[in-house]
């Protein structure tokens, strides 16, 4: 193994990513929630079922919880874990901004400098952007979150689907 290839590999598999992979945060499906979505990466079959629970606070809508069940590779699992760390407790506006920042980083082909203040552990994914085949892995749960949160905002009176059963 030449060191160049090894460096790339280490840039992809940052310790932070492997840590989140082995010990994912906020894993499991929880109540209450207003929307649940199921996203699949058709290329490789990675899957995530993701729920969001939004509440109305004094300063607008807040992401009170994001819970999930998922199967997939280290990148997709770690990115889901980091996502929950970043958005839980934030306002939806802030959460969407973080989403956009992460998206820009991932689609930058390795040219975007990550902002640690916004992305925290998420900056570890900067190396992923150089591996086009893995970008989809990193984005799977982020897309699911965006989708779920947007569904709730579009129909704020939607009751918890579990409760309405």
């Amino acid at each position: 193994m030449t060191s160049a290839a090894n460096q790339d590999l280490d840039a992809l598999y940052q310790e932070i990513i492997l840590d989140h992979y082995k010990n994912p945060h906020h894993k499991g499906l929880r109540d209450p929630f207003e929307a649940e979505v199921h996203h699949v990466n058709p290329t490789c079959g990675d899957e995530v079922t993701l729920r969001v629970h939004l509440t109305e606070g004094p300063e607008g809508t807040v992401v009170s919880d994001v819970s999930y069940d998922s199967v997939g590779c280290s990148i997709s699992q770690a990115s889901t874990s980091v996502l929950t760390d970043l958005v839980i407790g934030k306002s939806t506006d802030e959460a969407f901004e973080i989403h956009q920042t992460f998206l820009t980083l991932m689609q930058g082909k390795g040219t975007v400098e990550p902002d640690e203040d916004v992305l925290e552990d998420g900056i570890a994914f900067a190396g992923v952007a150089k591996f086009p085949a893995r970008v989809k892995c990193a984005l799977l749960s982020w897309m699911a979150f965006k989708d779920a949160a947007a569904q709730v905002l579009a129909d704020p009176n939607a009751s918890n689907p579990e409760e309405s059963k």
């Binding site: 699949v40 058709p42 290329t43 490789c44 079959g45 899957e47 591996f131 086009p132 085949a133 893995r134």
Partner: protein, 419 residues
């Protein structure tokens, strides 16, 4: 010097290796069959070879470096095609195997569509009498199978669409209007946007066969009023084995899947499957990868020359050819007589010599034209002829080649002793 010719014509010709070929008896090639298939510039061939020799892998499914390179090249081609036809979104560009498959994809998925797009008894599909068989037969099959009615625009004596009963023909029963932008036989350029406007008034969807337009005219899918638009790689200096269907996201998302298999799925269980989003929903199986790379290089080549310039060149050559053909006794041109309202295909007849025999004599002089019905039997029937000869030019065609054609036609008459 004829106005409108490409200024760098000799440089352009050097890009096309086949134009150096000589034929039987040492005759240089005079290729006037570009409406049938176009020749390929070296850059298209080289792009395909480079792909096959250095980057070949399957797309989407492969995680390794070759796979990433192949996927990127393939998806880049989609971007290039999207920009070539000014598609609002790259996801609206679907790779098919040719224009025929693109048109059949639409007719076939409409056969299984539910909701607004469903077609049944009482519904009407409108085409025209100047369509290529590939834009007739799919609609015959669809209307026959679903109990709907096929109707069509007739033609005027000078080879244009007879729009006199536009408002009657396209009415509230009309579900689909499918027509060619440029006729491959008559050369006619049709007023697609005008017809599309009427179709949209009654809620019909508009399918545009751009197989002859895409090589010759600047294409803007929105401006022309299409909901779906088809063209084929091999006529835009690209390879065989690839075609394009563009469709608006709104319509594409309403259509059910076409072919089922790898890449078009979201998830598969033995009892049930769900499908991917556009464009992948319509791209089952391994796509034409090397062909997409070639097509990407092809549309880049045309864009670099400039489609306005290509169009001007075609019109200049067509005008020059119409003048030249007029000097051949007993020759009748089918279709509009003015270059401005037509594309670069000119079909004609010569009294007393059958089109095959015309083509044969020309071929002995190295001049390649097409003879037959050009996959447009109804249009031939409309003009009471069974077949015709057709010359068709492209961005590499020179006035000297037109001179050779005219001379060849005069010789043909003398060979068959009609002159």
């Amino acid at each position: 010097m004829i106005e409108g010719l490409l200024p760098e014509l000799e440089v352009i010709r050097k890009d096309f290796p086949i134009l150096e070929r000589t034929l039987a008896g040492g005759q240089p090639l005079v290729y006037l069959d570009s409406a049938n298939t176009s020749q390929k510039p070296q850059c298209v061939i080289d792009a395909m070879v480079d792909h096959l020799e250095r980057h070949n892998a399957n797309v989407a499914r492969a995680m390794h470096q070759l796979g990433a390179e192949a996927s990127e090249a393939f998806e880049d081609a989609r971007d290039k095609v999207a920009s070539f036809i000014k598609a609002p979104s790259r996801d609206e560009v679907i790779f098919t195997k040719n224009a025929s498959e693109a048109l059949n994809l639409v007719a076939n998925t409409l056969a299984w569509a539910t909701g607004d797009l469903a077609i049944g008894p009482g519904d009407e599909v409108v085409i025209t009498e100047m369509e290529h068989h590939s834009n007739i037969v799919p609609w015959q099959l669809l209307t026959e199978r679903k109990g709907a009615t096929l109707r069509w625009f007739g033609l005027t004596d000078d080879g244009r669409l007879d729009l006199s009963d536009l408002d009657r023909l396209i009415n509230e029963r009309t579900k689909v209007v499918s027509l060619t932008w440029v006729s491959n036989m008559l050369g006619t350029i049709n007023p697609v946007a005008e017809i599309a406007r009427r179709a949209h008034e009654v809620g019909a969807i508009v399918v545009v066969d751009a197989a002859q337009a895409a090589p010759q005219l600047p294409v803007d899918v929105t401006e022309v009023g299409a909901d779906l638009l088809a063209f084929t790689g091999h006529k835009v200096v690209g390879p065989t084995g690839i075609g394009v269907l563009w469709g608006s996201r709104r319509v594409l998302e309403q259509l059910p899947p076409f072919l089922g298999g790898g890449e078009m799925i979201e998830t598969v269980r033995m009892d049930r499957s769900t499908y991917a989003g556009i464009p992948h929903k319509f791209e089952a199986g391994t796509p034409p990868i090397a062909e997409a790379v070639g097509l990407g290089a092809a549309v880049d080549y045309l864009a670099a020359v400039g489609m306005e310039a290509v169009h001007a060149h075609e019109q200049a050559i067509t005008g020059y050819a119409l003048e030249g053909l007029a000097t051949v006794p007993g020759l009748t041109v089918l279709g509009p007589q003015d270059a401005a309202s037509r594309g670069g295909a000119i079909s004609f007849e010569i009294d007393g010599v059958h089109p095959h025999d015309v083509a044969q004599v020309l071929d002995s002089r190295g001049i390649a034209v097409r003879a037959g019905h050009h996959c447009a039997k109804p249009a031939h029937a409309r003009f009471g002829v069974q077949s015709s000869s057709r010359m068709s030019s492209y961005l590499y065609t020179t006035p000297a080649e037109i001179d050779a054609l005219v001379e060849g036609l005069l010789y043909t008459r003398s060979y068959f002793k009609v002159g």
